[in-house]
């Protein structure tokens, strides 16, 4: 980051290559599996880094900071959507969960169904779940990224797992990893 502040383009290129896929995945899954939105948000994230590299505090881990900026972008997007959001009823959620009980599910389909379920639980559960199981962050790091107490992160993960596990227990024997 220090080199980027000094205008080292190679350092910036290296940083982009290192994080582009991870951040793209995060945006993709956080923003309703939209490749266009994920590309837009990825670009916006790195533009922020170009415009205000000094906003990074070296006292913190870089990737924790980067995910926290990305998470704030997602929050802003949710707020924007909130204005015209159509709340889905509990019946709709039940319907989605029942969908998971389909037999003979491929791993790709299973992931999609997991995210459909997480979508119903809310973005706060989805972000904690992604950061924990995709990125492998610790509870403390997730708490830092999401700006939440560790207890809240734990309870969100527990709730997400609880609902998913009910379905995955049924499905996991059918899926080979």
């Amino acid at each position: 980051m220090r080199q980027i502040v000094l205008g080292d383009q190679a350092a910036f290129g290296e940083l982009y290559l290192r994080y582009k896929s991870r951040m793209y995945y995060y945006f993709y899954r956080m923003l309703g599996n939209s490749a266009d939105l994920a590309n837009d948000f990825l670009q916006e994230l790195f533009m922020k880094l170009i415009e205000k590299p000094e906003s990074y505090n070296p006292a913190y881990s870089f990737q924790t900071w980067l995910y926290s900026v990305a998470n704030n972008q997602c929050k802003n997007e949710y707020r924007r959507r909130e204005v015209r959001k159509e709340y889905q009823s509990a019946e709709a959620l039940e319907h989605k969960l029942d969908y998971l009980n389909d037999s003979q599910v491929e791993p790709e389909q299973l992931v999609e169904k997991v995210f459909q379920t997480l979508d119903q639980l809310g973005e706060e559960h989805r972000s904690a779940f992604l950061l924990r199981y995709r990125e492998g962050f610790s509870i403390r790091e997730i708490a830092e990224i999401l700006e939440l107490p560790e207890g809240t992160v734990k309870s969100r993960l527990f709730n997400a797992k609880k609902i998913l596990a009910e379905k995955l227990n049924y499905l996991k024997d059918e899926v080979e990893f």
């Binding site: 205008g7 383009q9 910036f12 290129g13 982009y16 582009k20 896929s21 793209y24 995945y25 993709y28 899954r29 599996n33 490749a35 994920a38 590309n39 990825l42 670009q43 790195f46 533009m47 170009i50 415009e51 791993p107 790709e108 299973l110 992931v111 997991v114 779940f129 992604l130 924990r132 199981y133 995709r134 492998g136 797992k161 998913l164 596990a165 995955l168 996991k172 990893f177």
Partner: protein
């Protein structure tokens, strides 16, 4: 059981492939980085930030020290550059009068008579 469940979720997400971001993003970012970098270099060449610092209340001790140093050296420099016997008048005329040492005005500290007697 709990560990297996965690492993299952981790494996499930880590094996998830959604493709790569658009390559054009990298080009756009690199271009923006170049633009930002070039504009900041122009800014560095301007004297605006220096004058801002100069006329602000920051680093007053340092500024006072620098001014004192400049004054000190200018006074010393003027004193060293004074030509002996040169008088500069204020009416733009420059008159140079060379004073020849007048032996009559010399003060002899030693008495020649006594000096001879010492030999």
């Amino acid at each position: 059981m709990k560990k297996n469940q965690d492993q299952l979720f981790a494996q499930l997400l880590c094996n998830d492939r959604i493709g790569e971001p658009d390559n054009a993003i990298e080009d756009r970012l690199m271009y923006s980085f170049l633009l930002k970098n070039s504009s900041s270099k122009v800014k560095q060449n301007s004297f605006a930030s220096f004058f801002n610092w100069l006329f602000s209340a920051q680093s007053l001790g340092l500024k006072t020290g620098l001014v004192s140093l400049v004054l000190f050296f200018s006074v010393i420099n003027n004193q060293l550059n004074i030509d002996a016997g040169t008088i500069t008048t204020t009416d733009t005329l420059f008159s140079k009068r060379v004073f020849v040492a007048d032996s009559t005005s010399f003060i002899q500290t030693l008495d020649s008579i006594r000096t001879d007697s010492l030999n």
